[in-house]
Amino acid sequence: MAEITLSGLAHSYQASPAGAADYAIRQLDHVWEQGGAYALLGPSGCGKSTLLNIISGLLAPSEGEVRFDGVAVNDLPPEARNIAQVFQFPVVYDTMTVFDNLAFPLRNVKTPEAKVRERVAEVAEILELTDRLERKARNLSADDKQKVSMGRGLVRDNVSAILFDEPLTVIDPQLKWKLRRKLKEIHRRFAVTMIYVTHDQLEASTFADKIAVMYDGQIVQFGTPRELFERPNHTFVGYFIGSPGMNFIEVHARDGEVVSGAFPLVLDAATARGVAQVCQDSSNVKLGIRPEFVEVCTEAGADSMTAQVLQVQDLGTYAIVHLGLGEISLKARIDEGKPMPGHEAHVRFPAQHLGLYVDEFRREDRR
């Protein structure tokens, strides 16, 4: 078991990288604490597989250090790092029994047979594989095979961490949630550092206590699922988390007003002041608000803006309304049973749900 520190990490697949664009990972510092349940979340091509391979030792980083409990492991090969990995496709020995599959990593390091039996029994019990221990692995269902893969990572008591790479891809949709529950139980019971790599927000938020969102070779936010939803630190997090993602409105200050294009926005005084202030230093200023928090009313109010209703998507339990506010397009969520506007709607942006983004990063000190 280990705390994993990534220090000044950078990686390029090119021999002599010329600029930032040549790096798959750019200047990354991060600590995975011992015993945490973590996810590494990002779209394909964001660098998360590169990072995973650097932690497991399959790839040597161009720059920086990987430390397990403070000790640099850059020069250690994967097998010496004691990392267990669970991949998309279950890795099991088809001709062996479930018992022998689970015992394999222990027998490999010449563990006494009594200890092997004890550990395999314990792990089989939590994975609900006890009644299948004598079966050949080839006869198992996909989810049982994946449990065996996980079990092989759990039997050793000296693993530094378990890395999961999209482990539920081949699992039947109706069974996925049961394995997710199983993973949480396992984490609670074994208290080993677990890092779960995925492009799926549901997989990440369900498993992890804290999620590292990766974008363009960097970790742009490390936070709880709730923080990612309520206070995305980067416009990419706002876009990537939530369906649909956060609305972003490009703004600038003009004659004491906040405008987007030519459209004057009605905002609370503190937000308006904040925008005016940051606009002095940057021409890339955005306001972010989630569709869940855009208030849509059928009656005009003092602080409301008039929007055109462009489209209504009835998604069953709620509707997504596409609104046109001047040149701005905006999505708002309206829950079942709430009044639905006609051609025109009146919208408000509640101050506590507005985020101010400067050069794509959230600015917290706007008040």
């Binding site: 394909s44 949709p173 927000q201 549901l202 829950d335 639905m340």
Partner: protein, 362 residues
């Protein structure tokens, strides 16, 4: 061009893949085939396309019997799960290929390729080859090729399965607008209820080769004809409580009793199954007459902006769909509430006997 299936079946070996399906798709309509794996979606599409022939029944296009006609003699395009393109040809040549085969003149080919490439936002990629593209761009290329030839019928067989969810979101929105002004019939197969709702149009719910229900998508969702249709068209599936009605009172298990109110007053004595949508379960009561259930948390699944809470007690396992992000401990004891006036009621055979008045109302 309308498309009609009349009592169409398809049997292979001893197995029935499509079981007596009758359906008419109107010109210009966007239609979703919704069902789980092996429900008969792909089999039905292959019959529509003329790739397979029905064992029984007739297929009519614009009233004309086309049952025995091969796919080449029908004006049909198809987009598959896998991104199928000619790997050695440019994106331009890929999109142009159906037009070249049809003998369309070079200038017309050029005009239409550029038009459809622009619609699908790949106009800047025309000179590349598919292998240089991302998965999303490859599927856009395949879609452009299907759209370019003005087919009477365009079939999409789970085209977004291999793309990540953000790309899926964008595609769904684009598809709606892409087909708004077309007069061809679009048929789109999916396993995901949320995708059917996002696409809108009409939905056909399929189960075990049978057509359970067909109608405007939101209507089918809000007013399922049977419990099975309701289960197939909700993810997480609608919760089912076994209950009985005796002398004007409903009881679930032994604990929950309530008097039949106006909405449900017509229910005769007997056993019923009561459907509660996951989104109608809440952590706090919203009305005085909300019913309460004591349950233990099995798992909170969090999807960015929403929480799916799996719970159970000794009688029943349920899923609650809560807005926002909420953390729960595994096995935490909680109380959930749901409103009586939003219950669906199904009889012993699973036929719908009551749809809440609020369903789909705004």
């Amino acid at each position: 061009m309308s498309l009609t299936l009349e009592d169409v079946s398809r049997r292979v070996g001893g197995q029935t893949h499509v079981d007596r399906v009758s359906l008419t798709l109107e010109p210009g309509s966007f239609n979703v085939l919704l069902g789980r794996t092996l429900a008969g979606k792909t089999s039905l599409m292959r019959l529509m396309a003329g790739l397979d022939q029905p064992s029984e029944g007739r297929i009519l296009m614009q009233g004309e019997d086309v049952t025995g006609r091969q796919v080449r003699q029908r004006n049909v395009s198809m987009v598959y799960q896998q991104f199928i393109n000619y790997p050695n040809h440019s994106v331009y040549a890929n999109i142009a290929s159906p037009l070249k085969i049809a003998g369309v003149g070079r200038q017309e080919v050029d005009r239409r390729v550029r038009e459809v490439a622009e619609m699908l936002h790949i106009e800047h990629l025309l000179e590349r080859t598919p292998l240089e593209l991302s998965g999303g761009q490859q599927q856009r290329t395949a879609m452009a090729r299907a759209l370019v030839k003005d087919a009477d019928l365009i079939l999409f067989d789970e085209p977004l399965v291999n793309l990540d969810y953000k790309l899926r979101e964008e595609f769904r929105e684009e598809l709606r607008t892409l087909f708004e002004r077309r007069d061809c019939i679009a048929v789109y197969a999916t396993t995901e209820p949320a995708e059917a709702l996002a696409l809108g149009g009409y939905t056909a719910v399929l189960h075990q080769g049978r057509l359970l229900q067909y109608g405007p998508t939101a209507e089918v969702y809000h007013r399922p004809a049977t419990l099975t249709a309701a289960e197939m068209f909700s993810e997480p599936p609608i919760n089912v409580l076994e209950g009985r009605v005796r002398e004007g009172e409903v009881s679930f298990d032994s604990e929950v009793h309530f008097a039949l109110d106006n909405d449900l007053a017509g229910l005769a004595d007997g056993d019923y199954r009561f459907g509660v949508r996951p989104s109608h379960l809440a952590m706090t009561p919203r009305a005085d007459d909300d019913l309460a259930l004591d349950v233990a948390v099995e798992l909170a699944e969090i999807s960015g902006s929403e929480t799916f809470l799996h719970v159970r007690n000794e009688h029943v396992a349920l899923v609650a769909h809560l807005p926002g992000v909420h953390a729960f401990g595994v096995d935490e004891a909680i109380r959930l509430y749901f409103p009586v006036h939003r219950l669906y009621v199904f009889d012993g055979e699973g036929a719908t006997v009551h749809v809440p008045r609020s369903a789909g109302a705004r």
